[in-house]
Subunit: 337 residues, 2 copies
DNA sequence: GTGAAAGCGCTAACAG
DNA sequence: CTGTTAGCGCTTTCAC
């Protein structure tokens, strides 16, 4: 019993006028007489007419929809980004199609195809950990699709980027540990092939070298989630190689490290100071509370969307990719002092 | 320089055949000769033809898109739900349009209109705290739009529902506190006009009455976020009216209560036991770890989507609303024993 | 001030 | 086996 929605034709028929007149009346075209407008609008309201966005999209080759490809929604950072995207899009009358890659390459490719098929007007992307080939995104780009990358960007891609200054933020975080007297600082790092992973590690290295501290490769461990952090801590403990400070590539990793250490009876921050990255709801809740770098997810989402909408709405402007770099804010709590 | 995407017509022109033949060839219609199929498919791949989903939607009055109206994305529970929705939709070849109401009524109305306009095939809704009027949703329903409510449902609405048994889960949580010897148990409750708020309170009341414990109205306080919990705890402390157990309507409220109490030097769970609701990433991270009720967000999202897709794909089946009640799982951690 | 006609990309009934 | 035609809902010239 799906009653077909009211169309412009229905209104035209009832009023004994032509569809074009109705169309014009609805958008307040100056040519149309006041009475006709009034009649049309009244009937439209009475029949609860809702314009068919699909037909409009087809006609104008503009869907008023933007697509988002995101690794995982269930992350405080990413859901904050989505929230920012959604708010800005909403205010501009755009809808948002969300796809999650679940960190998988094949799914990211499928997502890109789907969005292309749906003729979204632009796409916001943060790439999956697994992705090392980006032909699917280049394809979008070459097809003229505005593309804005956020957080996890593709190095060398001609496109707009919104990131935080990972290197600088990591530098600040590490420096903070050093200033509090830590000398043997470990880094639990992200995947090497992601810019964010590399940049954060570089910031860490810069802080060490600036302070004249030697780099101990055995203290740089690839671990970017809770479980891996637990394993890493155990290994360091077994080898009697525990550091006096740890800078992790994200907060959950920091929590994993912290709890594993506490289980070993190690006091934080007294014996080992810890600082995470990407301040989420977590950081104020752990005991001790976790120092971290605020990644400004909401802001990143809204800025990325503003850039994208700008590209969509004024496509003629000469295309020079912009990169917006947000400052990651060091938030010092109990775990590092 | 938006190069227009390849269409079926382009392929037809190049191959010197008709668009309908191309269309049929692409969908492997039995009538078409093998050679034609081969030629068409090869060219399609070479030109990177992508079917225009918009045109298809218009033609078939089916958009292969479902809409979601959700209060706030930045919540572990809701983002888990979205994740479940997205996964199931993806596997069925559907895309997902996400709208957040930000807990506001007017925005929920606008969202509903937007989804209607975009002719989504069905909608998943969890209503905003602010919403008390539901005409916008009834309008969808009356227009024949399949509607599935999850978690925050509308009482009395003829539609499918997916919820957890809030009453029973709250009962179990409260009973657990009682079994651990607590006698003066407070409840930090959600808004009265939401079913979930009422149900959780009722479960709490049932557990008390079953145990023969008197209900103390001064211990039932409307507080459903971190800040309100802090205020509530201070008030109780000022009045020298602290309970020996607290059951809160969500986890963040529990954390607020816990930290406010700890600041007063009160030991948890020794002096006051606490149990939350809606097990998120938080609960394993607090100190002490927080007992809670797992709300199965991912599962709720996927089940709701399955029901919705079912309605969409077999619309002729006689319509009898279904309600799926998931069991909320009590997860006992340190804060309550 | 209003209407007729064409077309956005695609499919499906009807012809051949 | 393939082509022609019409139409999904809407806008937009071009006529009158």
């Amino acid at each position: 019993m799906k009653n077909n929605p009211i169309t412009i034709k229905d209104i035209a028929r009832i009023l004994g006028i032509s569809p074009s007149t109705v169309s014009r009346a609805l958008k307040d075209h100056p040519d149309i007489s006041t009475e006709t407008k009034k009649a049309v609008n009244e009937l439209a309201v009475r029949l609860k007419y809702q314009p068919n966005a699909i037909a409009l999209s087809l006609k104008q080759s503009r869907s008023n929809t933007i697509g988002v490809i995101i690794p995982e929604i269930v992350h405080h950072f990413f859901s904050s980004v989505i929230s920012g995207i959604e708010d800005v899009a909403y205010n501009a009358g755009f809808t948002v199609m969300i796809c999650q890659s679940n960190e998988r390459y094949d799914r990211e490719v499928a997502n890109a195809k789907m969005l292309l098929s749906h003729r979204v007007d632009g796409v916001l992307v943060s790439i999956a950990k697994e992705s090392t080939n980006f032909d699917h995104l280049k394809l979008l780009k070459e097809g003229g699709m505005p593309l804005v990358f956020f957080d996890r960007i593709v190095p060398g891609m001609q496109a707009d980027h919104v990131v935080i200054d990972d290197e600088e933020a990591a530098y600040k975080a590490t420096k903070h540990l050093i200033e509090n007297g830590r000398k043997r600082i470990a880094h639990f790092s992200g995947p090497e092939h992601l810019m964010i992973g590399r940049n954060r590690k570089n910031g860490y290295l810069r802080a060490l070298s600036e302070a004249g501290l030697a780099v101990d490769p055995s203290l740089i461990i690839q671990a970017d989630n809770y479980e891996k952090a637990v394993v890493a801590v155990r290994r360091l403990a077994d080898l009697n190689n525990l550091p006096d400070g740890i800078f992790t590539t994200n907060d959950l990793t920091a929590v994993g490290a912290m709890q594993a250490l506490q289980k070993l009876g190690i006091e934080i921050p007294k014996q080992i100071a810890i600082i995470g990255f990407s301040d989420g709801r977590l950081s104020g809740i752990t005991n001790p509370t976790l120092s971290s770098v605020d990644q400004h997810g909401y802001e990143m989402g809204s800025i990325a969307t503003e850039i994208l909408l700008n590209r969509i709405l004024s496509p003629d402007e000469k295309y020079t990719p912009v990169t917006r770099v947000l400052e990651g804010q060091l938030v010092v709590r109990e775990s590092s002092i």
